[in-house]
């Protein structure tokens, strides 16, 4: 039997991007969608993002920022960036209904999914140990082993870094589908510029007795629609977010 699974991660309240991905996923008749966490924080449309996720009937793992939204930090004695961040998390929490918060509280630290043909997928946000752990292409085999400990799976799927990745660990594959709502470029970010990518990223796993494949997809975004969703939202300190998308729009127009 042939089964397929969509992996989405790091939506961060960007409902325009999630909607584009959901439309793409619906064309594929996937059997299940797994969301690898960071659904709502730091973007303009948290409620709408959760609504789309519910429509997709996702299995969800909890991201570090989902935990922050459930219990936002206090702004007391915080300054500068960390104060702005706390204010964004409090705003996000306030946007959500009790049902929404309960939905977030239901997110699991890891999800183990039978993907058919005797294959298993284990999904998590950062690592199986912590939603704050980072797994990159350059993470050493030793560090990776430490994070995975004695778990076995044919596919390990993670998010958190916003960087799409494929690597092998022994006979297992390690996949990060990239980010739906904040697809970033690591190097450009290290130059202190928040350079975003013009597409939403996600992945589809196809599994049958014959072939086994991991497909990465880049869905082009309507950046003007994203900016409009930001304009309409009253999420605090949105300038940085808006500037990132504007910079991208300008660079596309210039080329």
């Amino acid at each position: 039997m042939s089964l397929s699974f969509a992996l989405i991660a790091d939506i961060h309240g960007n409902a325009v991007a999630l909607d584009a991905v959901a439309t793409d996923i619906k064309l594929e008749n996937v059997d299940r969608v797994l969301c690898l966490g960071d659904a709502v924080a730091f973007g303009p449309e948290p409620r709408k993002s959760l609504e789309i996720m519910r429509n997709l009937q996702c299995n969800v793992v909890v991201g570090n920022t989902d935990e922050w939204v459930i219990s936002p930090p206090s702004v007391k004695s915080k300054r500068g960036k960390s104060r702005a961040k706390a204010q964004q998390l409090i705003w996000c929490h306030e946007q959500l209904s009790t049902d929404d918060i309960e939905y977030l509280q239901d997110f699991k630290p890891t999800q183990t999914i039978d993907i058919g043909s005797n294959r298993t997928l284990v999904g998590f946000h950062g690592s199986p140990k912590s939603s704050n752990d980072v797994i990159l292409s350059t993470t050493s085999v030793g560090e990776f082993k430490e994070m995975i400990s004695d778990l076995h799976a044919d596919v390990f799927a993670c998010g958190h870094t916003h960087l799409s990745m494929l690597r092998r660990h022994r006979s297992s594959l390690v996949v990060n589908p990239g980010s739906v709502g904040l697809p970033v470029d690591r190097l450009a970010r290290e130059d202190s510029k928040q350079l975003l990518l013009p597409y939403a990223e996600y992945a589809i796993i196809h599994s049958d007795e014959e072939t086994f494949s991991i497909e990465f997809r880049q869905v082009m975004l309507d950046i003007e629609a994203i900016l409009e969703s930001g304009e309409k939202s009253d999420f605090p300190h949105k300038k940085r977010w808006m500037d990132g998308w504007r910079l991208l729009l300008d660079s596309i127009k210039a080329s």
Binding site: S140, L166, R168, R170, R186, L187, Y199, T211, R217
Partner: protein, 252 residues
């Protein structure tokens, strides 16, 4: 346009056939072969002829170049004679028409995907078929290899290890290996091969890009049989690699 990316076939015709059969189930416009077609496997000439029938774009790998001319291995210098004997044997298997075909392989190709999007295809790196780009390569080092080229997608083989990396708007894909899919590292001695053949596809349109890493199961007994029936030197060592790979997976 949908491309299939195949690399590092290494004279394993059983695995190449499995990939070709799988490609028939997809609407592929063109196959791009990233080199290392014949050396170090039991059925070099069969692989060359199958590739010619595919009408693929072909990149020259380091071992293809060795087949065409001098290879760096010596039987007399006391080091392991395995590679030298296997290279000599491989050259003996090929007809002149096979050699001529390998001689037509390009060091690098720039392929127009859609609009102004381009794919740059090579064996090791754009600079050399000997360069090694492992999945763990540092961003800065990878960028050094890619930054001079005006392409959005890059693909290379050589390491036999699948990888995907994105940086500064560039996507690098290694589709893994058709004929020698190393489970851990090409530095392993003895080698350990997984019981599958690896390839990738790439499809780019204005609205979306897709790239898929595919793993096709192979019958390891058929692979072992193809070596046992061939007079390929040190076939027992090659066979051991397939057995160890199966053991490693079953023991996992």
């Amino acid at each position: 346009m949908k491309l299939a990316l195949v690399a590092d076939i290494h004279g394993n015709f059983v695995s190449l056939k499995a990939v070709i059969n799988d490609l028939k189930t997809q609407a592929i416009d063109r196959v791009v072969c990233l080199g290392d077609v014949v050396a170090f496997g039991p059925q070099p000439s069969e692989c060359v002829r199958a590739l010619r029938d595919l009408g693929s774009f072909n990149i020259l790998g380091n071992t293809d170049d060795w087949v065409l001319g001098d290879h760096p291995f010596s039987i007399s210098e006391g080091s392991s004679p395995i590679n030298a004997e296997r290279m000599d044997w491989c050259q003996d298997q090929l007809r002149q028409s096979d050699i001529d075909f390998i001689n037509s392989f390009e060091p690098m190709l720039s392929i127009n995907l859609n609009g102004d999007l381009r794919l740059l295809a090579f064996h090791g790196s754009p600079s050399s078929y000997n360069d090694i780009i492992f999945p763990t390569i540092e961003d800065e080092q990878l960028l050094k290899y890619l930054s001079d080229f005006d392409a959005q997608f890059f693909t290379g083989g050589h390491t036999h290890i699948r990888m995907l990396r994105q940086l500064l708007g560039k996507t690098f894909i290694n589709p893994g290996s058709v004929g020698l899919p190393f489970l851990t590292s090409p530095m392993d001695d003895p080698w350990k091969m997984g019981p599958f053949a690896e390839y990738a596809t790439l499809e780019v349109t204005k609205l979306r890009s897709k790239y898929e890493f595919v793993q096709v199961p192979i019958d390891v007994d058929d692979v072992i049989d193809s070596a046992a029936k061939s007079d390929f030197p040190y076939s027992e060592k090659w066979i051991e690699g397939w057995r160890l790979g199966v053991d490693a997976i079953e023991g996992a």
